[in-house]
C-alpha cells in the first residue's frame, strides 16, 4: 500500500494568542484507497484538519504530503487537483443554472477543453446516478440529489481523494442513506480514498479506520470494531456509540449478560436470535 496523505507534526492556531492550538502535533498517514472516518465533538479540530490538507490554511509547524507532493504555497494548486471536497450544505455550493452547468463549473475554472468537459460531466452524472437530471434546476432537487450533484462536480475534476465534511448531516434519512451508499461505492468500486468527517456514528462504523480528534489531538486511531467497545469513554467526550452498543447497555441494565466485543447490527441480531432460540 502507498501512502497518499502523510501529515507530520502538524500544528495550527487560529490566533497566535490561543493557548490550545486547533491542531496539536498531528501525525497521520492515510493509505491510497482507504476509507477513513474522522470523528470528534464540535471544535475538536476535524474541519481544521480537512482545511489544512487542502491548503486552505497555513500550518504553524509541520508538513503535509499529498500524493507524494509536499504542500507549499507553490504546490497548493497541484495538491488540490488530488483532493475533492464535499461540504455540509449543498445549497451553498450551487452556481450553475442547471445540473450540467453546475457539474462543469469546477472544470471551467481550470480551463479544461469543452469536448473533454462534456465527456466528464456525462461520466460524473452517471457515477452518481443523476444522468436523468442533467437539464434540471439544482434548486428543485431534494437534499440527497443536490448532494449527489455536488459530488459529481467533484468527480469531474478527477481527484484521488474525496473529503466529505459532514456531507450527510443536513439530509433526510433517505438522502443520508443514499449518500452513504454512494461513498461506499466510490471507495470500493472506483478506488477513491475517502475521508469522511462526521457526527453520524453509523456512517463512521462503515469506514475501515476511525480517527478520533479531541481538542486538536488524535486520541484514537483504530478499526471501528475496536473503537466502539469503548462505549462510555466515547460518550464522555461528546460522541455517540453505534446502535448495538446502546442496546447492549440497556440490556445490561435489565440484568442480561452481554458480550464485551463489538457487534455490528447483523451480529447483534444473530446473537439475540441464538440466545432466544435456546428457549
Amino acid at each position: 500500500m502507498t501512502a497518499i496523505i502523510e501529515v507530520k507534526n502538524l500544528t495550527y492556531r487560529y490566533d497566535e494568542q490561543d493557548k490550545v492550538p486547533a491542531l496539536n502535533n498531528i501525525n497521520l498517514t492515510i493509505e491510497a484507497g482507504q476509507w477513513v472516518a474522522i470523528i470528534g465533538h464540535n471544535g475538536s479540530g476535524k474541519s481544521t484538519l480537512a482545511k489544512a490538507l487542502d491548503g486552505l490554511i497555513e500550518p504553524e509547524a509541520g508538513s503535509i504530503k499529498v500524493a507524494g507532493i509536499e504542500l507549499t504555497s507553490q504546490t497548493v494548486w497541484e495538491v488540490r487537483n488530488h483532493i475533492g471536497m464535499v461540504f455540509q450544505n449543498p445549497d451553498n455550493q450551487f452556481v450553475g443554472a442547471d445540473v450540467e452547468g453546475d457539474v462543469a463549473f469546477g472544470m471551467e475554472n481550470r480551463g479544461i477543453a469543452r469536448p473533454e468537459m462534456v465527456k466528464r460531466v456525462k461520466a460524473a452524472l452517471k457515477a452518481v446516478n443523476m444522468s436523468a437530471y442533467a437539464k434540471h434546476e439544482p434548486v428543485r432537487l431534494s437534499g440527497g440529489q443536490k448532494q449527489r450533484v455536488a459530488i459529481a462536480g467533484v468527480l469531474a475534476l478527477r481527484p484521488d481523494i474525496i473529503i466529505f465534511d459532514e456531507s450527510t448531516s443536513m439530509l433526510d434519512p433517505e438522502g443520508r442513506q443514499d449518500i452513504i451508499k454512494l461513498m461506499k461505492r466510490l471507495n470500493e468500486k472506483e478506488g477513491f480514498t475517502v475521508i469522511s468527517i462526521t457526527h453520524d456514528i453509523d456512517e463512521a462504523s462503515l469506514a475501515q479506520r476511525v480517527i478520533v480528534l479531541d481538542d486538536g489531538e488524535i486520541i484514537a486511531d483504530q478499526k471501528p470494531a475496536a473503537l466502539f467497545t469503548k462505549g462510555q469513554e466515547l460518550i464522555d467526550i461528546g460522541l455517540d456509540v453505534p446502535y448495538p452498543e446502546r442496546l447492549k447497555h440497556e440490556l445490561a441494565k435489565q440484568g442480561i449478560t452481554v458480550p464485551k466485543k463489538y457487534l455490528s447490527e447483523e451480529e447483534m441480531v444473530e446473537w439475540l436470535w441464538q440466545l432466544l432460540s435456546k428457549n
Partner: protein
C-alpha cells in the same frame, strides 16, 4: 395554545406563470399543551405550514385559528402583531441572527423592542439565560466568542425572552455534535414539561420524534397524510418506507429482528422498551 387549520391552501406567486400550490386543503388541529412533530421530506410543505403560525404567510384560501385569533386571506398583516409574541420561531442555525455586543443585550433585544424598559429587559434576559443554562461568566461576553452550541442557546434565550406560548423549532440541532444535540433536545423537553411551552418540532430525526413528541403530523406534497401519536404513526414501518420516511433506530432494529424470526410482543420505539421486551423473553432461559 390550540391551533386549528380549516381547509387551508396556500399558493406561491398566485396568478403568475410561476404559480405553485404548496399546501392543499389542510384540516388539522394541534392540541393545547402538546409536543408536536411535523415530518415529511423536502418540499412536503412543512415550512409553508409553519410560516402561517406566526403570520409570515396568510392563507390563499381557508383559514387558521391560533390561540383564538382567526386568520383568513383577508386578515391584514397589522392585525398579526400579537401572534409574533405568542409564537417563537427558532429557525435553522439561529445563531446567524445574533448581533449585539454582549450575550445579555442580545437576549434583551426582543423585550425592549416590545416596550420593556432597559432594566426590565435585562432582568428577563438573565432569567432566560439561566433557563437555557448559559453560565453566568458568559453573560457579558460577545456572543460571537462562544461555541456553536452556546451561540445557539443565546439565540433561543432571545426568543424565550419574548415569552412565547408556543415554540416552533425547525431542525434545531443541525450541525451540533451528539452531546450538544442531546443537551439541546433535553432542554426543549424541559421547557415543555416545566414551563408549559407548546412545542412544534420539524425534524428528519425519527429518534427525536419517538423520544419527545406526543403528537405527529405527516405531510406529503402539500397535503396532510396522517396525524397521530408516535406509536400509531410508527406502527406500520412499511407505510413509512413507502412514503420515504425513516423509522426510529429501535423500530428499524425491531424490523430486522422480525425478519430473523424473533417475534416481539409489541413494536418498540425506544431502546429501553426494546431492551425490556427482550429481557422478558430471555428471562426464563437461565441467563448465566
Amino acid at each position: 395554545m390550540a391551533i386549528t387549520f380549516k381547509e387551508l391552501s396556500y399558493t406561491y406567486q398566485a396568478n403568475t406563470p410561476f404559480e405553485y400550490q404548496a399546501l392543499t386543503d389542510i384540516n388539522l388541529t394541534i392540541p393545547d399543551n402538546s409536543y408536536t412533530a411535523i415530518i415529511g421530506h423536502t418540499g412536503s410543505g412543512k415550512s409553508t405550514l409553519l410560516q402561517h403560525l406566526n403570520g409570515l404567510l396568510r392563507p390563499t384560501s381557508g383559514s387558521l385559528e391560533v390561540n383564538g385569533q382567526l386568520i383568513t386571506p383577508q386578515t391584514k398583516p397589522k392585525q398579526l402583531g400579537d401572534l409574533r409574541k405568542e409564537v417563537g420561531f427558532v429557525f435553522q442555525f439561529p445563531e446567524a441572527q445574533l448581533f449585539e455586543e454582549t450575550v445579555l443585550k442580545d437576549i434583551a433585544f426582543g423585550p425592549k423592542n416590545f416596550g420593556k424598559s432597559e432594566a426590565e429587559a435585562l432582568e428577563i434576559a438573565k432569567q432566560k439565560a439561566k433557563l437555557v443554562k448559559l453560565p453566568e461568566e458568559l453573560w457579558e461576553k460577545s456572543p460571537f466568542e462562544l461555541s456553536g452550541g452556546q451561540m445557539r442557546r443565546v439565540a433561543i434565550a432571545g426568543i424565550l425572552a419574548m415569552a412565547p406560548k408556543t415554540l416552533i423549532l425547525d431542525e434545531p440541532t443541525a450541525g451540533l455534535d451528539p452531546k450538544g444535540r442531546l443537551e439541546m433536545m433535553e432542554m426543549f423537553y424541559k421547557l415543555h414539561q416545566a414551563e408549559g411551552l407548546d412545542i412544534i418540532l420539524v425534524t428528519h430525526n425519527m429518534n427525536d420524534v419517538a423520544n419527545y413528541a406526543d403528537n405527529v403530523v405527516v405531510l406529503e406534497g402539500g397535503q396532510l397524510l396522517k396525524t397521530g401519536k408516535p406509536a400509531e404513526i410508527f406502527a406500520s414501518p412499511e407505510w413509512l418506507l413507502a412514503h420515504h420516511l425513516g423509522l426510529p433506530k429501535t423500530t428499524a432494529f425491531a424490523q430486522e429482528l422480525k425478519q430473523r424470526g424473533i417475534k416481539l410482543p409489541s413494536l418498540p420505539l425506544k431502546e429501553a422498551d426494546l431492551a425490556k421486551q427482550l429481557a422478558t423473553m430471555i428471562g426464563g432461559i437461565g441467563n448465566e
